[in-house]
């Protein structure tokens, strides 16, 4: 088991290197560079001065030198300077990463809390009225665009009833570390979490429902019933155990979202997270921030896939490689 995990992690290293190379090349291929970004088109700077600055900053070095320097710095936590915000990218990311993580974790937990019971009910009693209701809800949530739904939720519960704040991640008057601060954070989380979670459940419900319907007909379920064990245990020990496998495996991928965040939700709720920063940075051409964010979310996908594999190997004996 341990060797499997070690091996799986070793595969990650070339994947990450390749990812970083692609991002570096793409970033270099974009018009403009750090110097043109820093001077912001200032006409007082002459072409010779520009060249001099470029030389000093190492921008005239061969690409591989630049790449290894960038990678070396990145690994050590130096992701460069944001042209727009005029502060290190790491500082910019620090607070937002926490916010995004919190929001995504809450969304993930709430959506599983809704989706797993509903998926089980729909699958176990499929074609019952409960199943039809749940499938109806599924179609609704698949068909509804996230930005429309989120806006509607914001309008109704934030603006009309005024139950929840319209934006931000915490009340500015709340003091860090105090009880009010925690309550305020949670209060700010409610709407973005719910609107994200309610729509995110559809895939999980549908997947789980279909898998249960399929697994119900498998021969080993007949074997279990022939053993004369209670129907409840046929479900928990045999059907659900098998049907939750793909859900468990998918969890690793979902963790990716914890880091990359939701662009729509964060933008609509003006929630200061990575998704919102990403949209802002693209519109202001803040390339260092964009490439840092792309690198982080790319790495998150790779790590998430690895987690999926590891989770699957824990729950499914057939995957285990000695």
């Amino acid at each position: 088991m341990l060797t499997f995990i070690m091996r799986r992690m070793a595969i990650m290293i070339p994947q990450l290197l390749l990812l970083s190379l692609i991002i570096f090349v793409l970033a270099k291929a974009m018009p403009g560079d750090a110097v043109s970004g820093a001077i912001q088109g200032n006409p007082d700077v002459s072409a010779e001065q520009l060249e001099e600055i470029r030389g000093k900053m190492g921008l005239n070095d061969p690409w591989y030198t630049q790449y290894s320097r960038w990678l070396g710095d990145f690994v050590q936590g130096d992701m460069g300077m944001s042209y727009v915000h005029q502060q290190p990218v790491t500082t910019l990311l620090a607070g937002r990463l926490g916010n995004t993580f919190l929001l995504s974790l809450a969304t993930l937990i709430v959506s599983y809390l809704i989706a797993i019971p509903l998926g089980i009910i729909a699958g176990r009693w499929h074609q019952s009225w409960a199943d039809k209701l749940i499938v109806g809800y599924n179609y609704f949530s698949i068909a509804t665009p996230l930005f429309v739904f989120a806006l509607l939720v914001l309008f109704v519960f934030g603006f009309y009833f005024n139950w929840f704040p319209l934006g931000g991640s915490v009340d500015i008057q709340a003091e860090g570390g105090s009880w009010e601060y925690v309550v305020s954070k949670a209060h700010h989380l409610v709407l973005p979490t719910l609107s994200g979670a309610l729509l995110a459940t559809a895939g999980t419900i549908q997947y789980l429902r279909n898998d249960i319907i399929e697994t119900k007909l498998k021969d080993f379920v007949k074997t279990a019933r022939a053993k004369g064990i209670p129907e409840r245990r046929v479900y928990t020990d045999h059907i659900l155990r098998n049907s939750l496998l793909p859900i468990a495996a998918f969890l690793g991928y979902e963790i990716t979202l914890l880091i990359s965040g939701s662009i729509f939700i964060e933008s609509i709720y003006s929630y200061p997270g990575l998704g919102q920063l990403f949209v802002q940075s693209i519109s202001t051409r803040d390339f260092t921030v964009v490439s840092a964010l792309v690198m982080i979310s790319g790495a998150a996908v790779i790590v998430g896939t690895m987690l999926s594999d590891i989770i699957l190997s824990i729950v499914d004996p057939r995957i285990r490689i000695e």
């Binding site: 007949k222 022939a226 053993k227 004369g228 064990i229 057939r318």
Partner: protein
């Protein structure tokens, strides 16, 4: 022969297809005695498995209609609540399934799957259950039982898995074992081993076995009595020696005729014309086999064929057996049953 263990009375198992009920098992009455092997033979689609699954209550209740009675030691299984039925299946009745590749839960170890029914039916400690599981594995012919106990199904071969499936069926010392084509999914050498094993176990356990198969060799070697099923009905029922010595019903004779082992050196293997009608197209009046022996004049068939005892313990349906002969118009076919 011991006393009756399982009595099936006028069982009718119907499946609902597009709103209409079609009987897959039609008015079947059978009796299985203690320490008896009763074989049910017939082509695919004759209702053999539907019969077996009716006994153990594995049909989807929403689309299945069960009529008649299945009495196990006097208790009608069809009238029992699920809870009561669960006290009998797995404990008093064990089931061996057809395909060992799919009959085991891929996520549980062999040991836990064998011990599972014991948890619900036997008052044994965890250690005692493991002891028993190891003992069962030994009894079904697995030598390194401790190793296999901790293995997962995908780590075992098909033959080994079928042994495990048998061990599960035997976990709580059942009085009746239902084996639904236990060797169909296995290759020939393993088939012989598994049948040998079932025979040995049966003589050890003194329990009844309902053996469903279409392998006539297996029937001749293992069964005490044989029921031949066609289109949901029993067309012939007799002691094994009787039926092999003097098969009566045209369907039984056709089946025997189609056995390659009995084929003359030269000439072609007998093939029964046509196919088993599917549930929706099955004609329910008259002799159901008539369509597949079209050369037999209509007057030979009874209008409403019933199972008649023609000799002590030898039952046959319809009257068309009396003057039946194979259609020898085609080259080289000889009636092996009468020659």
């Amino acid at each position: 022969m011991g006393k009756a263990l399982l009595e099936i009375e006028n069982l009718q198992t119907s499946f609902r297809i597009k709103g209409t009920d079609y009987a897959a098992v039609d008015d079947v009455s059978l009796c299985i005695h203690e320490d008896e092997v009763l074989a049910i033979v017939g082509e695919s689609g004759c209702g053999k498995s539907a019969l077996a699954l009716s006994i153990i209550g594995l049909h989807e209740p929403r689309v299945t209609d069960l009529r008649g009675a299945i009495r196990f030691e006097g208790e009608n299984l069809l009238e029992l609540s699920r809870k009561k039925l669960n006290e009998i299946r797995g404990k008093e009745i064990g089931m061996v399934f057809q395909d060992p590749m799919t009959a085991l839960n891929p996520l549980l170890t062999i040991g836990s799957q064998i011990e599972e029914p014991m948890k619900y039916h036997m008052d044994l400690s965890r250690i005692a259950r493991k002891e028993r599981a190891l003992d069962l594995l030994r009894r079904v012919g697995i030598r390194d039982e401790a190793l296999v106990h901790a293995r997962y199904p995908h780590e075992l071969s098909g033959g080994m898995r079928q042994r495990v499936v048998i061990a599960i069926a035997l976990a709580c010392n059942p009085r009746l074992l239902i084996a639904d084509e236990p060797t169909t999914a296995l290759d020939v050498t393993i088939q012989a081993q598994i049948m040998e094993l079932l025979k040995t176990l049966q003589s050890e356990m003194q329990s009844g076995i309902l053996l469903i198969t279409h392998d006539l060799g297996v029937v001749a070697e293992t069964a005490d009595r044989v029921a031949v099923m066609y289109a949901g009905q029993i067309v012939e029922l007799a002691e094994v020696d009787d039926i092999f010595a003097r098969p009566l019903h045209p369907y039984t004779r056709s089946l025997f005729q189609s056995n390659p082992a009995k084929m003359p050196r030269k000439g072609r293997l007998h093939v029964i014309q046509g196919r088993v009608p599917n549930l929706e197209n099955l004609k329910r009046e008259g002799c159901r086999f008539a369509d597949r022996v079209p050369w037999v004049p209509k007057t030979e068939h009874a209008r409403s064929p019933v199972l008649q005892e023609v000799k002590r313990g030898h039952f046959v349906r319809c009257t068309c057996y009396k003057n039946f002969h194979f259609n020898t118009g085609r080259s080289g076919e000889k009636d092996v049953a009468t020659s």
